[in-house]
Symmetry: C2
């Protein structure tokens, strides 16, 4: 295992210390592994909390800040945070207007956020949860009953965060989060595995000219393996899978996301193929992200997430955001 780390035991806390040193806009509770806005909760604003296993950076901690999340809980690599962390985060962002939990659909995350919501309720904090499940690759997966939550999480955090910033009540913020999830679909491809530091060896093995279609963000098995082929052919498989689930027509927000080890030159090439595909299917990409937003450590590969925009969602997408991982317009 070749990694730029001190030890598998400290990889998460070392990164949290680095985030704390780099971003004065954030307050990092290293002991509890919770990242919050340094300014504290905004009175009267719905608080947004997300979290999950580490190894997907910049998700979620990199999306804490104005116009997006109020706090993120970091688990160990590819391991759900525990309810106590989520409770610390929930209490830390409570501005009196309730808290939204944004939960990727993995069984551990869902159960732990559910428990945290109950604990928060005991302390008089109203919590609503939205579960993100946009991955069309497989119906059930290694760690998940139902579809996995992947790239749409970035869209949900951005758009719900914008609405919360405008002072909308909890029910409306939760509704827009659910709407974004319902209008989004994703599919991922791995060219290589990744190595969880504590495991010390690759999560899975792929042959020299083999790729995995429909991979999960923890390296969970996808639909099938296939030979390496040109990017245009790989993108067609990805987009056919998404399009079969929800036709990619109309105005679209599209993310071509790197898994962590794929360089930007390749992601832009893939975006070009996605753009050609959607144009050929009556779709129009009116907003986009190309880069590393929800990663799987150093895995080589990419995912595509398509969200069907409305004017309201586009307006919320365009609203100012100021986080380490996403920043514009302010």
């Amino acid at each position: 295992m070749k990694k730029l780390i001190n030890s598998p035991d400290t990889v998460v806390t070392d990164a949290l210390a680095g985030i704390a040193a780099a971003h004065s806009s954030l307050a990092v509770d290293i002991e509890n592994k919770v990242i919050l806005r340094a300014a504290g909760p905004t009175a009267g604003k719905v608080g947004l909390v997300s979290g999950g296993g580490s190894g997907h950076e910049p998700l979620h901690g990199g999306f804490v800040g104005y116009g997006m999340l109020d706090a993120a809980c970091a688990g160990e690599v590819f391991t759900s945070p525990v309810p106590d962390q989520m409770l610390v985060a929930t209490k830390g962002v409570n501005g009196g207007a309730g808290v939204l939990h944004i939960v990727k659909n993995y069984t551990g995350d869902v159960l732990n956020f559910q428990m945290a919501a109950e604990l928060a309720d005991d302390e008089g904090i109203e919590v609503t949860s939205v579960v993100v499940n946009d991955d069309v690759a497989v119906q059930d997966s290694l760690y998940t009953a139902g579809r996995r939550g992947v790239g749409a999480t970035v869209f949900v955090e951005k758009i719900a965060g914008a609405l919360a910033e405008r002072g909308a009540p909890l029910a409306q913020v939760a509704a827009v989060a659910a709407e974004v999830n319902e209008r989004s679909r994703s599919f991922g491809v791995a060219l290589t595995s990744c190595t969880v530091p504590a495991a010390g060896k690759p999560t899975f093995d792929l042959a020299e000219q083999e790729i995995e279609l429909g991979i999960g963000i923890h390296g969970e098995p996808g639909r099938t393996r296939a030979p390496l082929q040109p990017a245009s052919a790989i993108v067609e498989i990805v987009m056919d899978a998404i399009n079969a689930d929800l036709a990619v027509d109309g105005d679209l927000l599209v993310m071509v996301n790197g898994m962590g080890g794929t360089p930007l030159i390749e992601l832009y090439g893939a975006f070009n193929e996605v753009s050609k595909y959607t144009t050929g299917h009556g779709g129009r990409i009116v907003r986009n992200l190309v880069g590393n937003y929800i990663t799987s450590l150093e895995m080589q590969g990419f995912s595509v997430t398509v969200c069907h925009l409305t004017d309201t969602l586009a307006d919320l997408w365009d609203a100012p955001v100021d986080t380490p991982g996403l920043r514009w317009g302010r």
Copy 2:
């Protein structure tokens, strides 16, 4: 070779087409491989042109936009663009106040930009060049007489771009670019090689537990090879090399840059070590970047660039910037 590409022959143009599809703020001349601001030259503003081999994305094309570059020329992967491209870019950004060429110190780039400057001069465009040579690792290198130009290029493009945006004349913009270069030092480390698409095999070989200290951004040999060791020890070697060349005290702008295949969780851990080192040596990191800014395809590894700030340079660093690769404050 496992890459998300259509073919080695089209990797650069496919990426340029993707950049064009993704960013309406940019005008991409795919035939000439030049990326310009869509709005065209700003009358009375000094135009900033940079460029170099592809494979270092987001550098340089991702830094075209308000507050930074006016145009970037893309060569083939790890290959200098030709003078004709540079001339197209220079003419395309000429707003009547002259043009600054920002050139990384590689022999091919330097010669070609020099020829382009002469061609532009023949057409009545005043050009000044600044050569970036911040890499302390080796005195001469595979493609370079003198020090290589690496991470400081990002700082030069940002800070000179800000001054140009304020309407400063060419001599002042060139002077601040040279000042940033003189105040900056870099050092890089590779954990793995990268593979140039046209070559089809890794540029160099490293053993399973071996790293290369002082690597260049094209995989050029560094100072020495060493066993893999904890991030804290690797960072100490990096920072000792930088500190030996120019003491890391005072107010610093620091970039911990990923080589393309190293995930953000590791870069933040490394930033934490850099932060501890500078604090221990009388330095204060008052601005920072952590992420992939000047890459080497899918290479695993990182580089550190340290720039000694003045109040003026910090103010220019903070000025609004709106490019695909760097964006804030506007």
